[in-house]
């Protein structure tokens, strides 16, 4: 089975915690985590509700493999309606929190309503209670983590926490667990804050032992681990360099956007790359990178643990940042660095620490700062608006100052906390917001890499690389190489990646395994662990069902084909230099074909036939 078959329903308005059985009929159709929790959300929440009102629900969900020894099986997801996008949100995190939920005996936790006063949920196996969080409201995620561990005298407790940005209403606040793992995107932390829920602290001692076929499971899991160890990306690139292995690669092929995506190609890429992180610093002879780190059960270990030069201006008088903590990953390094033009590795590492300490999405934050910088350059914003900060592209001092300001929630932080779309609307430069469905782009230029443009435009949670990472094929040649600038074949490629990813995100596994694993490697692990038939075909159908279910939620929330579009800059302003010079996104060529192969009508609506085919 591998599911615990038990969920916890927490009504924050009433202060009640009620166990109930997992709907196994739905588990057979949606597997777990992202898929299954989205099914619960679709059934229980009105898609038109106010995302920050008590009618929205927040679901923390594990997959059936979460907490087992399958490689990377430590994932959990947070599902709700997003306040940033108004669409369905599913943010995925690693670390150790998800497995602890399973060890305590719970597949998922559904939070509904809104608590009158700040609370946190304490779970010790089947003992659950809401406790007052009035003492920890207003504290950072890191401080809260320290306080709750001390309060409960339990160093092994795993805790998911919102920071001060969520409390202040920043629309891209996430939920931090294990100090530097995050359910980061789409403002799931903001929803948690809207419910007056500060943290979820879990200790589980029951373990997971109900594998459907243990012998088969260990055989499939061992085979899977070998494939990862032998893979070039999963066995060499990611363990050695982390996701930052991409910085020089993507810059080299002409896919790295810079300066609010006005440019493609960044001169400072080398200075903020994985290679730079491993280089000893001039000041103290130590490299930025201390060690690689794995999440629960992960045999890849792409995580980075870093330190900042103690004499660097950002931390000179702040000893609390002199120790090691979660270091830069590629998307954060791009958004905080290349997109803002800042190539100061120590400054970026410090800002990344702050993102973790107070729980906000470095992608959306960095991209929002980049948009503000472009408006500052054009004179739409002045130091009067920014609280005196000279918000210039390339200024590490400005980036550090604006980040520290964001955490306070005061003044210009309120504008920045709205995200790039609302910020650019407010200052009357809507064309400068590099977003889809109000969510900021990640680190791949859709003009350089055509599949990513279609992927951003159609992603159910707004612009995102993790809904269909066609970079694998278009740049790295995994599983087969496609040309970056080909539009033909991309609708099929994007659909295949989106469906497979939906399945992986619903299993408890990390999407990075798919740099080496195909569904042939994944399905046998699920099939051996779980009851039911989890063939390759069955798994892909579940993935497609999940994708369409999310689309239907968004349709009901008011989204149409008009929202499947890219900013004009991506369609009209050709790349000015480098290997992809002259290119624009050819979204218009790809989108109709994509709708067609999805089984949607030309308006992008899921047809009755498709609903029937997928039992929706």
């Amino acid at each position: 089975m591998s599911w615990t078959r038990k969920i916890l329903r927490v009504n924050l308005s009433k202060g009640s915690c009620t166990p109930e059985p997992l709907n196994m009929e739905w588990a057979m159709e949606y597997l777990g985590q992202r898929g299954l929790a989205s099914k619960y959300l679709s059934e229980e929440v009105d898609p038109t509700c106010d995302a920050l009102g008590p009618d929205n629900k927040l679901i923390m969900a594990t997959g059936p493999l979460t907490g087992t020894s399958a490689s990377t099986a430590g994932r959990y997801s947070v599902i709700c309606k997003s306040p940033l996008t108004g669409a369905i949100a599913a943010s995925n995190s690693g670390g150790f929190f998800g497995p602890e939920m399973k060890f305590a005996g719970w597949d998922m936790i559904i939070f509904e309503g809104k608590s009158e006063k700040p609370v946190y949920l304490l779970i010790q196996d089947d003992q659950v209670e809401l406790r007052s969080a009035e003492d920890i409201w207003g504290k950072s995620a890191w401080e809260t983590d320290d306080i709750l561990h001390a309060t409960h005298q339990d160093p092994q407790m795993r805790i998911a926490i919102i920071g001060r940005t969520a409390e202040a209403g920043c629309l891209y606040a996430g939920i931090i667990n294990d100090r530097h793992r995050a359910a980061g995107r789409s403002g799931v932390g903001t929803v948690m804050a809207s419910k007056n829920l500060k943290a979820v602290a879990i200790r589980g001692t029951g373990g997971i032992g109900n594998l459907e076929d243990a012998d088969k499971f260990f055989e499939a899991v061992d085979a899977g681990k070998k494939v990862l160890a032998d893979g070039a990306v999963t066995g060499q690139g990611l363990p050695t360099y982390g996701t930052q292995v991409l910085m020089n690669v993507i810059n080299g092929v002409g896919g790295l956007p810079a300066h609010n995506m006005r440019d493609v190609g960044f001169d400072g890429a080398g200075d903020i790359s994985a290679e730079a992180m491993a280089e000893p610093r001039k000041s103290d002879g130590k490299p930025n990178l201390v060690t690689g780190a794995g999440c629960f059960a992960c045999t890849i270990a792409c995580g980075r643990i870093s330190t900042i030069d103690k004499t660097h201006f950002s931390v000179k008088d702040k000893p609390q940042y002199h120790g090691a903590s979660g270091g830069l990953e590629y998307e954060a390094a791009w958004a905080l660095g290349a997109d803002t033009g800042v190539s100061d590795l120590d400054a970026l590492t410090y800002v990344n620490f702050l993102c973790n300490e107070d729980g906000f999405d470095p992608i959306s934050f960095g991209a929002t700062v980049a948009a503000a910088m472009e408006m500052f350059q054009d004179g739409d914003l002045t130091t009067k608006d920014t609280g005196g900060i000279e918000l210039k592209f390339g200024s590490a001092e400005a980036l550090v100052a604006i980040t520290e300001l964001l955490v306070t929630g005061e003044g210009f932080a309120k504008d920045l906390g709205m995200g790039s779309k609302r910020l650019c609307d407010k200052y009357k430069r809507p064309e400068l917001s590099m977003t889809v469905k109000s969510q900021e782009f990640p680190a791949y230029d859709p003009r350089g890499i055509q599949g990513m443009g279609l992927g951003y435009a159609t992603s159910n949670r707004g612009a995102c690389h993790l809904r269909g990472y066609t970079v694998a094929s278009e740049v790295l040649g995994i599983p087969v190489k496609t040309e970056m600038n080909d539009a033909e074949g991309k609708p099929e490629l994007v659909k295949a990646f989106q469906d497979a990813t939906a399945l992986v995100d619903s299993a408890g596994l990390c999407i990075f395994t798919t740099f080496a694993w195909g569904m042939d490697d994944i399905a046998p692990q699920i099939d051996a662990a779980c009851e039911g038939d989890w063939s390759v075909e069955g798994c892909l159908e579940v993935g497609e069902r999940i994708w369409n279910m999310e689309r239907i939620f968004n349709q009901a929330a008011g989204f149409t084909a008009d929202d499947d579009k890219l900013p004009k800059r991506m369609l009209k302003e050709a790349i000015k230099s480098g290997p992809t010079k002259g290119q624009v996104s050819r979204l218009g060529e790809m989108l109709p074909k994509y709708y067609e192969i999805r089984g949607w009508n030309p308006k992008g609506e899921v047809t009755a036939e498709t609903r029937e085919r997928l039992s929706l």
């Binding site: 373990g207 160890a229 780190a293 794995g294 995580g303 090691a324």
Partner: protein, 159 residues
Amino acid sequence: MQKSLHIDPGKCTGCLQCEMACSYDNTGTFNPSRSYIKVFTFHDEGRFAPYTCTQCDEAWCMHACPVDAISVDLATGAKIISDDKCVGCKVCTIACPFGTVNYSQATGKVVKCDLCGGDPECAKACPTGAITYIDADWTGYDRMMASAAKSLPSAEATH
């Protein structure tokens, strides 16, 4: 030939595959809270350290036990708890200078590493070689070799 678990913390990524393998072998569940090997995270230093019983020859735990519940597995040298004899008095947990014999509320007995009868699951599960099972006479030699390497004259100095 006696073999020992050999731990190189520098190679550990903190993934807990060892804890899962250990707990599955002991309890039939993936359950880090029931593992006899523990990985400790030293966050501010950015370090991970797996730690478990080193199977002392003159084991403090064994000598301290008032009911002779701890004996030597003659095949492996492991110190083994007899659940039939253990009364859960915890004196061994006080005697052990390393803290690697522990009380378990789940069983009312003490628990410790038993080397899995000579084929330790943790070593097999470790993806990075941080935990290995080696000839007991070779413990420490890898570090000695690393130190010896440092004593070599540099390439520049010899040319």
